[in-house]
């Protein structure tokens, strides 16, 4: 014979209990439900999406009318139970229905807490508990007026986001200093507040509500500090308390909630309680996971399994506001016996914190990226000793391979679509696929084919690990050429770290990057000096002792220890006065050799070092400046005579050449830069084997780069065609700056371009206007510090010691 089971309340907990019970003992009970709400069982957690308009009520129904009919359950909608007669074992509803029971389940849930401030009962003050509240709020929102939500916890923020989505002007008042302080630490609370505010919701923390005032309806909210906030709708979302009133009246034991044992049984053996109204082991619960656990236990008990018992577990909190990812679990207060692992990514708005005690996770806060919440929850639940994977724990499950300490395993465990190179958007499978399909064996090849790590280079380590995984022993990551014997780091890594770590002196680089020698060597010091000059033009003090002698004394050392001097002749153009001055200097200092260079200027060879300042002084008088013929920097801009003279010339190639040279002289580059401008495709200035060349055509200026006519012979690549001289200058300058920032010391443009890839350079300089402009601006900024004529500085006395012997001794003794 069936027993009569009566359930008071039709929320999610009794609904779940019934599902379990129907599975375990479908015929044992004749079930009757009294629901004070006039509706079926729906998913209360999804009220927020209903409020924001993302879902309809129909979509959140758990058990429709048909379900009750199918299972023979009697549901009294809109019937509130007003009395329990324990002696007679009956319940009576406010509509006068009296129902006998053999077993009674009380699931009356909770009631929202109302702050008893003056005006709390004015029309327009709502709580956020059920569908009726949501409908009332949606109605109020139609006025598009102002709403105040009191309470910056989970519920309050969801209500605020919903009202905001409905078009209301929303202010959240929260009495504590940070939002959701029970679930979030202050750092995550801050990020949350920022995200909430970015949606246009105002947040006032430490807000103590004093009164709600208005004439017959809500008009404003007053705070203790005197602030007055106009509002036509006030939502109280400051918390809930278990609804145990009915049980208390019936003499059932209750504290905060109805006291039940681990089997969900009250002190009356025929009466059970579960859900938010129940108190187990002194705890009451408001989140769905423990409530569902109660439902499972109660169903088992009702089905006859008396061993079923509720066990407490922490439940993760998630905020259901679209676009805000937030996860909180367990205990995350600081403490002496606790350690924490924190990961912050400010630009991505990610904050992760794990609180550990005795190598176990006891608390987790994830903000911005919560995918690993479940995994952390699992580790916490199982009390897993995390010490073997501590180093990579915070990065989440996908970084934990079979051997958690092995970083190689972490890379191996990455999914195929994991992004490896953020700059170029290259994922793991694209890299491993290219390595296999194209038989790539070097990092440079991988960069050339996939672009991975070809831009900022910060993912180089990851790419190399992928190469090892794909190629096995055939790839040796040590094959990355170190800069020199002083370090194991390659040029790219050093350049990246100089920027990333803000290293602004050579000693700082050597200290931070763990140089093996005390002050470097003749290979690394000039390279570091260049990188620092390039990266910190305003901050870095050029270290002359780290420059080659040519750049230190601004002349070219010759095999006999004398020097050669090449003054600048802008665009290769000169005149009688300049030539006369050169002739005079040659006579005066008995210069043994004068030669015209390949770069269209005049070289004076065989000058004694101590004569250099005087030679420069005379040349300076005639208006000459250094031609930087010795520099890893801009050398010459060779030109033809162009449209001014030549019958084939299409543009003023001479003028453009001079303009480029005057704009760019003095700039330091990874290796020498030689340019040329030809006035027509006959190319008399030989622009198509230069580092950068321009071929003028009728329609504009064809910019070429990456040519070579030295150790290697190579025609240029075409960067692109631009219409005006201004554009030509901007593109050339931007290209040069890109090379300055990425090139390895002594690496000519053509080698750099091969490494980076011509299409990538075109993309950044020709197609990406913002990038080009940024390169251009950085070059211009750098020139403010670079365009100082080194010759006139030295004529004025700079570095005198370089040009004079320290002493002249011993001649007297030798003469004796």
């Amino acid at each position: 014979m069936t027993e009569k089971l009566v359930i008071i309340g039709n929320g999610m907990a009794p609904g779940r209990m019934l599902e379990h019970l129907l599975e375990k003992a479908s015929d044992r009970y004749e079930v009757t439900i009294f629901n004070a709400e006039p509706r079926v069982n729906y998913d209360r957690i999804m009220l927020s999406p209903v409020l924001s308009g993302e879902k309809d009520y129909e979509e959140i129904i758990i058990h429709g009318d048909g379900w009750y009919i199918k299972h023979g359950i009697t549901l009294y909608k809109g019937h509130k139970i007003i009395a329990i007669d324990r002696a007679g074992k009956t319940v009576t509803s406010d509509h006068g229905v009296t129902e006998p029971y053999d077993k009674l389940v009380i699931a009356t849930g909770s009631v929202p807490f109302i702050i008893p401030v003056p005006g709390h009962n004015l029309p327009g003050v709502l709580t956020y508990r059920d569908l009726d509240d949501v409908r009332a709020m949606m109605l109020a929102a139609q006025s598009r007026a102002k709403a105040v939500v009191i309470g910056g916890g989970l519920l309050g923020l969801e209500a605020a986001a919903g009202l905001n989505a409905q078009g209301m002007d929303v202010t959240v008042l929260h009495v504590m200093p940070t939002l959701m302080e029970r679930q979030l630490d202050p750092a995550a609370g801050y990020l949350l507040q920022r995200a909430v505010e970015q949606r246009g919701i105002k947040v006032i923390t430490k807000a103590n509500t004093q009164a709600i005032t208005g004439n017959g309806k809500v008009e404003q909210v007053e705070l203790a500090d005197g602030t007055v906030i106009p509002a036509t709708l006030v939502v109280m979302a400051v918390g809930i308390r278990p609804n145990a009133a009915l049980a208390k009246e019936a003499g059932i034991a209750a504290n905060r909630g109805i006291v039940v044992d681990a089997g969900m049984r009250s002190n009356d053996p025929d009466i059970y309680a579960l859900g938010e109204c129940a108190e187990v082991n002194g705890m009451v619960y408001g989140l769905v996971a423990p409530l569902y656990e109660m439902a499972r236990v109660a169903a088992s008990q009702l089905a006859g399994d008396e061993t079923a018992a509720f066990v407490h577990s922490d439940t993760p909190t998630k905020l259901k506001v679209t676009g805000i990812e937030l996860f909180s679990l367990g205990d995350f207060a600081d403490g002496d016996d606790r350690q924490e692992i924190v990961l912050r990514d400010a630009s991505a708005g990610v904050y992760k914190r794990l609180v550990l005690k005795d190598d176990r996770i006891i608390g987790t806060v994830l903000y911005g990226e919560t995918a690993d919440g479940a995994w952390f929850n699992d580790l916490k639940k199982k009390q897993t000793d995390i010490s073997p994977m501590r180093d990579t724990l915070i990065f989440g499950q996908s970084y934990q391979g079979g051997a958690p300490l092995d970083p190689m395993a972490a890379v191996a465990a990455l999914p195929d679509d994991a992004e490896i190179c953020g700059c170029n958007g290259v994922c793991k499978s694209k890299i491993t696929g290219a390595i296999t399909a194209k038989g790539l064996t070097s990092l440079d090849d991988v960069r050339a084919h996939t672009k991975a790590s070809a831009s900022c280079g910060s993912c180089t380590g990851l790419v190399e690990k992928l190469m090892v995984l794909t190629l096995g022993d055939t790839y040796n990551p040590a094959a990355v050429q170190p800069m020199c014997g002083c370090t194991t780091l390659g040029h790219d890594e050093v350049r990246r770290l100089i920027k990333a770590k803000h290293l602004k002196t050579i000693p700082a680089v050597m200290q931070e990057l763990e140089w093996a020698t005390s002050c470097g060597c003749a290979k690394c010091r000039p390279a570091l000096n260049y990188y620092l000059v390039c990266d910190w033009p305003d901050d870095y003090a050029d270290d002359y002792q780290s420059r080659f002698i040519n750049e230190r004394v601004h002349a070219n050392i010759q095999k006999d220890g004398t020097y050669s001097v090449v003054p600048r002749m802008w665009g290769g153009v000169t005149n009688a006065a300049e030539l006369r001055a050169i002739a005079d200097v040659v006579d005066k200092f008995e210069i043994p050799m004068v030669k015209v260079t390949g770069g269209q200027r005049i070289d004076m060879l065989g000058i004694r070092k101590e004569d250099l300042p005087a030679v420069w002084a005379d040349l300076g008088q005639a208006g000459f400046v250094s031609g930087h013929a010795y520099a890893k920097g801009l050398r010459t801009v060779k030109t033809c005579v162009g449209s001014d003279w030549c019958r084939f010339g299409t543009q003023d190639s001479t003028g453009l050449g001079i303009r480029i040279e005057k704009f760019m002289w003095g700039s330091w580059t990874p290796a020498k830069v030689k340019m040329a401008v030809s006035g027509c495709p006959r190319n008399c200035a030989e622009a198509t084997c230069k580092d950068v060349g321009v071929i003028c055509v009728d329609s504009g200026y064809e910019i070429h780069f990456a040519g070579a006519a030295g150790l290697d012979i190579k025609g240029t690549e075409v960067l692109g065609l631009v219409r005006t001289e201004d554009e030509a200058l901007e593109h050339i300058v931007a290209l040069t700056q890109m090379y300055r920032e990425q090139g390895r010391y002594l690496e000519r443009i053509y080698k750099w371009a091969k490494r980076i890839g011509i299409p990538e350079i075109k993309r950044q300089i020709m197609d990406d206007d913002a990038k080009r402009k940024a390169y251009f601006d950085r070059f211009v900024f750098s020139q403010k510090f670079a365009q100082v004529d080194p010759w006139s500085e030295r004529v004025s006395g700079k570095d005198k010691h370089e040009f004079r012997p320290m002493a002249t001794v011993g001649f007297a003794q030798a003469a004796e």
Binding site: C519, C521, P526, M806, A807, T808, G810
Partner: protein, 109 residues
């Protein structure tokens, strides 16, 4: 020994060198990063490059012509290269620097 004053420590930049003209040719006086002072012939054993113009690192100098690395302490070429340059005794008294000319004189004799 016949110590001849050649000037003071501050005449030479750290990690740099200055020359002293003598009847035997140029002598290069080096000052390291930690203020040790060395004197060697200013003449690379390889092709006679002026070592005083090279980059000073640790207690060595790299010749500006072909990058031989010469020990300032022994005058010997370091690494795979073979060759040596004469070292000259140096005395530092406070700031003041002296070199011993007997070496020059005896060689001249």
């Amino acid at each position: 020994m016949n110590w001849i004053a050649i000037g003071s420590l501050s005449d030479i930049p750290r990690r740099g060198a200055r020359c002293v003209d003598t009847p035997e040719g140029k002598i290069a006086i080096f000052r390291t990063a930690d203020d040790q002072v060395y004197a060697i012939e200013d003449h690379c054993p390889h092709k006679g490059g002026p070592l005083s113009q090279g980059i000073v690192h640790g207690t060595a100098v790299t010749c500006p012509l072909h990058n031989w690395v010469i020990s300032l302490e022994t005058g010997r070429a370091l690494g795979a290269d073979e060759g040596a340059v004469r070292t000259i005794p140096v005395r530092v008294e406070g700031e003041r620097l002296f070199i011993a000319l007997e070496a020059l004189a005896s060689r001249a004799a």
